[in-house]
């Protein structure tokens, strides 16, 4: 299977999985179980990379009996999802997640409650990803760690034939010729310092768009999570009992429910915001280290007692991570519109199951587990049916093969531009047509320059390509938010404060040189009543 040619490690397999987080490992296991030979390449290390490894996902977890339980949950979620999600897809992920998690027994040590009942719903991140690494190793998946994919290979008939990338520890390049490819590269938070998100720079979106795929739901990218300033610790559980104060010590009023982002952002736009966790009951305090061992790390190391002392907080943007958007899925196997190319987890849109609000806390992980397996099995089937692994041509553009003469483009400046439009509270949380239009123009200008001249080399190659991916993603977000001329779910426009039935449909987006948007008329949706 292996052949080294010069500096390039060249391999072939039925299925290539790009990204080894929650969705990628489940995808690899399903493709193997369907009989395919599988290679999984991760930018970092499969087992610690990605946002699952540093968190601890609670899955959407509802027993099949009595059936009313799931029916009610789906009905309620249709309402909160503002009509963009579909009951069939929700039922599918509930069913598959329920079947899948218990199969990890032996790889993951499930805890039991006071009554000796095994608890499958929520798994601790590092242990979960360690278990999934062991699972894929045991199934005979070939794992390439520290091997970011930089571009896809595509045949002249349009089908995807593998990918190329670099081996950042071993040195040299890799190329995998494959019968089908699954993109499981996660979402992107535009390097906001969200915990564990540093390798998630939207690469899969760019790779797929270069092959001709489109995205959906990219306007739903306004989710933020509170963290102590200068820290990455975006673990929301600890803030369940938070009290927030402005710089003068006055309590900031919070609305009922989980929606704290807008009032906090409003306060942060005026000045510094502080927090204490004094309302946390004693018994919960005692258990925090054994529930989520990383929550207390920053406090202990800074000598802060969060239950007594006030500490300054910030909001880290999550982009498409606990936002919603991603590659458009066009069928039950999570195939994209490009033959041989599949999308799973946060690399895919989660509108189908989450609708217009975040799927964090339950749906996202159930989606990653399920979409991963569908994509893996679908890719295995496609590879078996189509036979050929070879014949692809490398198709990467921005940051790899500039459209005109190579010129130095400052990556730090470009990243600041992206973050300025995608993370700033005043532009991204409190949206309006005017500011979105301006954002789109700024990002288009940055793209024109980047696409024309940037060409990564040496140590800067990966970061150059990552910057291209984030810039492309930012443009799709701005264009989609501009196109959705209403407020719905997490997308709130000050100039269009109402939900508008004309937009009871998904918004597709794509394009590199020129960004386009379109309504997903194929999926004209009834508004959930």
């Amino acid at each position: 299977m292996s052949r080294s040619s010069g500096e390039t490690l060249e391999l072939s397999a039925d299925v290539l999985i790009i990204g080894g987080g929650l969705a990628g490992t489940w995808a690899a296991s399903a493709a193997r179980r369907a009989g395919a030979s599988v290679i999984l390449a991760d930018k970092g290390y499969c087992g610690t990379s990605g946002v699952t490894a540093t968190a601890g996902p609670g899955h959407w977890w509802i027993p099949p009996d009595p059936p009313e339980l799931r029916e009610t949950a789906i009905r309620n979620r249709r309402k909160t999802g503002a009509g963009l999600n579909e009951p069939e897809w929700m039922a599918r992920i509930l069913a598959l997640t329920w079947e899948s998690l218990p199969t990890l027994d032996g790889f993951y040590k499930f805890s039991t409650d006071e009554n000796g009942v095994k608890q499958h719903r929520a798994l601790r991140g590092p242990e979960y990803m360690r278990a999934l690494r062991k699972l894929v190793d045991s199934l005979g998946v070939t794992v390439l760690d520290h091997s970011p994919a930089l571009e896809l290979l595509q045949r002249s008939d349009g089908s995807v034939a593998g990918a190329r990338g670099i081996r950042r520890q071993a040195g040299g390049d890799w190329q995998v010729n494959a019968g089908a490819v699954v993109l499981a590269t996660g979402g992107t938070s535009f390097l906001s310092r969200l915990l564990g998100s540093h390798t998630n720079t939207g690469d899969g979106y760019l790779l797929a768009a270069e092959a001709g795929a489109e995205l959906s739901g990219m306007e739903f990218t306004t989710y933020y999570t509170v963290a102590p300033v200068r820290s990455t610790m975006t673990r929301s559980m600890s803030y369940a009992f938070a009290t927030y104060y402005d710089a003068d010590g006055a309590v900031i009023a919070m609305p009922p429910g989980p929606e704290t982002t807008r009032p906090l952002a409003r306060a942060m736009l005026k000045g510094r915001v502080f927090c204490d966790l004094a309302r946390t009951p004693e018994d919960i305090r005692a258990r925090v280290p054994t529930i989520s061992p990383n929550v207390m790390l920053p406090f202990r190391r800074w000598g802060i007692d969060p239950y007594k002392d006030r500490f300054e907080v910030t909001l880290h943007g999550e982009g498409t991570i606990r936002g919603i958007g991603g590659l458009r899925v066009v069928g039950d196997h999570c195939q994209t519109s490009v033959p041989g190319l599949y999308a799973a987890g946060d690399a895919a849109t989660r509108e189908l199951v989450a609708g217009a609000i975040s799927g964090g806390g339950n749906i996202n992980s159930a989606w990653a587990v399920s979409s991963g397996q569908w994509a893996g099995a679908g890719a295995a089937r496609h590879a078996a049916a189509n036979g050929s692994q070879s014949g692809g041509r490398a198709i990467g553009q921005a940051g790899l093969r500039p459209a005109s003469a190579r010129r130095d483009v400052d990556l730090g400046t470009t990243l600041s531009t992206i973050q300025g439009e995608m993370l700033a509270y005043d532009k991204n949380i409190f949206r309006s047509g005017e500011t979105l239009k301006r954002s789109a123009e700024i990002l288009d200008d940055a793209w024109a320059e980047f696409d024309a001249h940037a060409q990564g080399a040496g140590d800067a190659l990966l970061r150059t390509r990552e910057t291209a991916a984030m810039l492309a993603t930012a443009r799709w977000c701005a264009a989609s938010a501009l196109a959705r001329e209403e407020s719905r779910g997490m997308h709130q426009r000050d100039d269009r404060p109402e939900m508008d039935p004309r937009f009871n449909r998904r918004i597709l987006v794509g394009g590199l040189d020129k960004v386009w948007t379109a309504s997903d008329y194929g999926h004209a949706l009834e508004l959930a009543s």
Binding site: K43, G44, Y45, G47, T48, S49, G50, A53, T54, G56, G58, K109, S111, D113, Q119, R121, A122, L123, R124, P126, E127, D145, H146, R168, Q169, R193, L195, G196, S197, H198, T199, P228, R230, S231, T232, M233, M237, A240, F241, P255, P256, G257, R279, P281, I284, R287, P289, T290, I291, S292, P293, N294, L297, P298, R300, R301, W302
Partner: protein, 133 residues
């Protein structure tokens, strides 16, 4: 950001080099790993979890390096605390460090209930029609 690889403790196993998601560390033959790209550190603490020798210290500041005194850190008791709380390796069967992650949901539930209680108390003082959530 990662600040210390403590030579007196490090066994040179290079596990940290292998598992760091952002490739911050570099293996040096015959020596302890070098913090080669500190600016790429994503402050995820994974290297501490995977270091059986408790030889690594990651400071919570993710924006700038933190000046740290190695001896003070060695004396602080912070080294290895994270791995212990996770119940990894030799701590796996220690009853003091069970994996209680599954209780996370009940914490959120308790917070919601506490909120409802506060809301009800509030509702005692205002006409009911004006405080629908």
């Amino acid at each position: 950001m990662i600040e210390l690889v403590i030579a007196e403790r490090c066994t040179g196993c290079n596990a940290c080099v292998e598992i760091c998601p952002t490739n911050v560390l570099e293996a040096i033959s015959g020596d302890v790993p070098r913090i080669a790209r500190q600016e790429d550190c994503q402050t995820c603490f994974m290297c501490e979890l995977y270091c059986r020798a408790d030889a690594i210290y990651v400071a919570p500041d993710c924006e700038n390096p933190t000046p740290v005194d190695k001896n003070a850190i060695l004396a602080s008791g912070l080294l290895g605390e994270f791995r212990r709380n996770h119940g990894w390796d030799e701590w796996a069967d220690d009853p003091r460090y069970p994996n209680e992650h599954w209780r996370m949901e009940s914490v959120f539930l308790r917070a919601r209930m506490a909120f409802q209680r506060r809301l009800r108390r509030l509702q005692h003082h205002v006409p009911p029609s004006s405080c629908r959530p």
